[in-house]
């Protein structure tokens, strides 16, 4: 099994599936559907095996943290290689992708219009997303990043709601604008590396080891990547495409969009921004924290007055993803682990919320909050599942959302106390918008059409149980995820510490004499810090930033 290209298979299976679906007979929708489902389940099985086979070990360096690496030469004269690899940061994004696709296809039972194209698009989208999370070559990454845009665009345009064209075009152009800038950034990094070291490569593992960017250049390049990722996350104030896209997309599109697509942005920050531009990331972390905090509060407040359920959940995503960014740019191991955990958790709970809203749309053909009322009485299972999903999304302890938000906030509190305190207010607000929506939609006496709303079918419950069950399981026992994520996060933080004036333990435990000597501090004791305040580095700095003067231009 060791020689089996598992990661390539994760990309190829859905991609080939997509190709084969287009060749299947149009007249036999059940075959098309079954085949699509099989392809997605096969991918899910591969992803599951990947989680199972992933080894928990502390890597020597960031480079070593990748497992199942496949490295082949590709376009030799341009230095582009075909490199796939997985570490603790991408592992669960792959798993989440594998889980959400079959579920959202399962939930698309009502889609009959141009079914073949629909399933082909979904499979292609899955292949693209898998590629994004696995690629370790910048050009390869960019290719997948762009590939995945196209089927998403078609899913919104082809199977969306009234204003789908507007929403899809906006989504497409906005993201394209961002990725164009990122492409320039990718080229610049590689070319600067080439002119300094003399070898042209897009290999992330090589580029992140190289530390020859001048400070100013690094900041500009950070910004180039930032725009692309910030739009994708979406970070305030780049978020306005999201409510439109969510509202117009079909249910499956919304689930995938919120569940995994947004995480490509936060993943990008972790995988590229922090590793390629550590000093710039440290210097500009405050910008990220400010935007994240605004996003948390702003998204929640705006969500409270939404009239459309999908829009409400879309704005709640802005708030949740704010927690992710807050955790990541807290630059502490709790913060980053919390951020990654929130990425997973948000995929589960928001996925469930969108699925339920989709089920309600199928029944009433509206998502208008005011059009509903008293649904719990006539459809107790629907009400029950929505309540559990809402509470899980609120971040109630016992559900995964709590673990993620809690760790992200702890991490931020240790390094940047004021942001964490303000962001914690978002925890209150989350209960305001979701419970208010719940009250208006589900409680009271049902009237009119609401009196005859059908309760959930077994099939519908079967799509929700895995998501909410996992959220509950990971809320009670998050260790299986955390222990796989942690080694990579530690390696990432050490990487940043070695290449910047950042010192995590300086924030977390200033008394630790071994502070900032990589390797040693992994064994040292828990955080006991009297005061974890203040900005910037300290005297106990062991690793001077290997700042290089060349580069630029």
């Amino acid at each position: 099994m060791t020689d089996f290209p598992l990661l390539t298979a994760l990309v190829i299976v859905p991609a080939l599936g997509s190709l084969i679906v287009t060749l299947l007979p149009k007249q036999r929708p059940e075959i098309v559907r079954a085949f699509g489902f099989i392809a997605m389940m096969a991918t899910a099985a591969l992803a599951g095996y990947l989680v199972y086979a992933f080894e928990i070990q502390q890597p020597e360096s960031l480079r070593d943290s990748f497992q199942f690496v496949e490295d082949h030469s590709w376009i030799n004269n341009l230095g582009v290689r075909y490199i796939l690899g997985v570490d603790g940061i991408s592992l669960f994004m792959v798993a989440l992708t594998g889980l959400l696709f079959p579920l959202s296809l399962f939930a698309s039972a009502k889609v009959e219009h141009r079914l073949k194209s629909y399933i082909a698009s979904m499979l292609l989208l899955e292949a693209g997303i898998m590629g994004v999370f696995l690629a370790l070559d910048l050009i390869l990454f960019f290719a997948f990043w762009e590939v995945m845009l196209v089927p998403m665009y078609f899913i919104i345009v082809g199977w969306g709601h009234e204003r789908r064209v507007y929403a899809a075009v906006k989504f497409f152009l906005y993201t394209m604008a961002g990725s164009a800038v990122m492409f320039v950034g990718i080229l610049a990094v590689a070319l600067l590396h080439n002119s300094s070291v003399g070898s042209l490569t897009f290999d992330l593992r090589v580029l992140q080891e190289w530390n020859g960017l001048a400070e100013g250049t690094a900041r500009w390049l950070f910004l180039a990547f930032f725009i692309s990722f910030a739009i994708k996350v979406p970070l305030f104030p780049f978020h306005t495409w999201l409510p439109d896209a969510h509202v117009e997309a079909p249910t499956a599109g919304s689930v995938i969009l919120a569940g995994v697509l947004l995480k490509m942005g936060t993943y990008g920050f972790l995988r590229f921004s922090l590793t390629l531009f550590p000093q710039a990331s440290v210097d500009l972390a405050w910008v990220m924290l400010v935007l994240a905090t605004i996003g948390i509060i702003y998204g929640a407040i705006v969500a409270t007055v939404q009239k459309d359920m999908k829009k409400l959940v879309a704005y709640s995503s802005v708030a949740h993803l704010g927690f992710v960014i807050l955790g990541i740019f807290a630059l502490t191991s709790q913060g980053i682990q919390g951020g990654i955990f929130t990425m997973i958790s948000h995929g589960l709970t928001t996925g469930a919320l969108f699925l339920i809203i989709g089920m309600m749309y199928e029944r009433r053909h509206t998502r208008d909050i005011a059009a509903f009322g008293g649904v719990w009485k006539v459809a107790p299972r629907l009400g029950g599942f929505m309540l559990v999903a809402a509470l899980a999304s609120v971040g109630l302890p016992g559900f995964s959302g709590f673990v993620g938000e809690f760790l992200a906030l702890v991490g931020a509190f240790l390094s940047n106390r004021p942001y964490a305190i303000v962001s914690a207010v978002g925890v209150i607000l989350a209960s305001v918008y979701l419970l208010w929506m719940y009250q208006r939609v589900f409680t009271g006496e049902p009237e009119g059409e609401n009196r005859t709303i059908a309760d959930l079918t077994w099939r519908e419950m079967a799509t929700l149980v895995p998501l909410l069950g996992l959220s509950l399981f990971l809320g009670v026992y998050p260790k299986p995820v955390l222990e796989r994520v942690e080694p990579s996060v530690k390696a990432l933080i050490t990487h940043v510490e070695q290449r910047s004036d950042w010192c995590e333990s300086d924030k977390v435990d200033p008394d630790d004499p071994e502070a900032c000597v990589p390797g040693d501090r992994f064994e040292t004791a828990p955080e006991t810090s009297p005061e974890a305040e203040g900005e910037g580095g300290s005297e106990s700095e062991e690793n001077e930033p290997v700042g290089a003067e060349e580069g630029g231009g």
Partner: protein, 683 residues
Amino acid sequence: MNLLETSWLIPALPLLGAVTLLFFGGRFLKEPLAGMLATACMAGSFGWTAVLFFKMWSLDPEQRTVGKHLFDWMPAGGLKISASLLLDPLSITFLLFITGVATLIHVYAIGYMHGDPRFSRFFCYLNLFAFSMIILVLGGNFLVTFLGWEGVGTCSYLLISFWFERPSAATAGKKAFITNRVGDFGFMIAVFLIISHLGTLEYWGPGNALEGASTLTNGAATGIALMLFLACTGKSAQFPLHVWLPDAMEGPTPVSALIHAATMVTSGIFLIARAHPFFEASGQASHVVAWVGVGTALLAATIAMVKNDIKRVLAYSTLSQLGYMFMALGIHAYSTAIFHVVTHAFFKACLFLGAGSVIHGMHDEQDMRRMGNLRKYMPITYATFMVAWLAIAGVPPFSGFWSKDDILAKAWFQGTTEGKALWAIGLLTAMLTAFYMTRQVVMVFFGHERFDLPVIAGGSDDGPSGARAHGADGTSAGAEPQDDHGPTGSGHGRRKLPHESPWIMTVPLVLLAGLSLVGGVINLPFKDKGWGEALTHWLEPVFEGVTHPEEKGSTLVGLAAVTVVLCAVLVGAAFAVYRHMTTTRDPFVTKLGPAAAVLDSGYGVDAAYAALTVGAGGRAAEVLAGPVDQGSIDGAVNGIGELLRSGLGTGGSRLQSGYVRRYAVGILTGSVGLVVFAVIKAW
């Protein structure tokens, strides 16, 4: 193996009940089986608690603290948060009365919820609540406590809005949840502070957080203590987060008795008792606790004097009694506070269940102005209510006398002006308590029958709650549980006469009344006797190092005499005023004039919050969502797009779809080509 390590069985049983009812309730487990199953789980939990209690009793004091590590919950970086339990004298004291009172209330609820279409769901929630409450108390670190803390909040939400068809019930549930979340913000910040200063959240084991509290700077300890207290003001409904508790009376009465009187609302007292080293290390924080407590006690007592809804009077009374407990915590009299928690659980549960029995017997009437002389119709309810009334009014030798008097004495013996002031306000509150409770008892059980009289606005009005109780909004038909209730429309038609409740409801009442009578024995103030101050001695290992000023026996008796005499005067006054009440006009409230309206509105706190959140907050949110988000931010995005389009000179109409679509196809073909190329090259 140490028997005390099996403490996990205590929460496991109600959890088992809840899960079973969740999956099989309604379809397979109908009434009354669902109720019996839930009750059996609860009784088993109580039984096991009792077994562990006697086992612990037999051990030496230093062996009575047993922690149990279940599994690693959140291992992240240097922070290792475990799922652990801690069984010690403090937690088992709480567990005993929680599981015990909960069992009785489960039994009662089988009768009370008879005929409700969601009978099994009710017991599922009730068991889930008990599970969460046990976890809260049994938690071995702050985060496990927080898990229970949020769990009870959620169950409270579910149970307050159990009859969710009534908009008022749904609103009340949401209000409770959100108000509690405000307090939870404090809990979270406190936890973050503890992590950042001490690096651990554990209550037990080497280097635990409670031991570490004494190493903190005063500022840090005060910050942590005040943040924890903020959490307590939410859960235990203290000013300024008290507003949710009166509304929580929308829930079925067993819920009010269990959650909003006996158990959940005392979580705050438990939390401060558990985290008392932080308060001890701070000093200042305790003053805040004492003053907020005694302030809430006084405010709530004044409001209770004018309320007419039988349950709302008790709700304000609960606020007031909780205020006493916080006052005790604030003067470092931790075991005294817990003493009052226990006796209060007995007599307040008895009062609430009695009120439920009255409501049941009166066919869903909750307005005391339309009651009277019920002792003739409901002798058992009457007798038990009397016992609980004497207990809360502070009449010796009923349990409430001992615990309340202990708190007042502890305040007096502080020896400071502050202590005397707290004592004086506490005494005033005790007198008011005697008055409003007597008012309730006389209006309900004595005097003239006023069952069919129309309500005359007598200066005070319970506002929307009065209307709700009669089902005037037309929604109660499906919402009310009793299948035997007659026409509930108020003011017209002769209603059925009140009747006594079935045995399944009166037996728990009798047991609770018995406990209200004798509950004081657990901590009688006779130091020289071997059995005196039993609870204080029992809790000594927990509150090690907390000292109290010397108490003089003769002064103690004198203080008690003053309290008893003054309270007796107020009891007599209330009797005199209400005994001859023949109409629904309240003679006392009418005399208060405009002051009654102020009291009835709860000093306008609710209205102020509504103006702030719904009014100003709502408008701000509208502005953010409208002009800011859609107008400015999205407008800028679209504007830039528009600008680029005209700048590039491409035909506007083509951009709408065709252009992008072609571009998308272009990317697709290009990318597919690249992928194919990659595959070929890689092979």
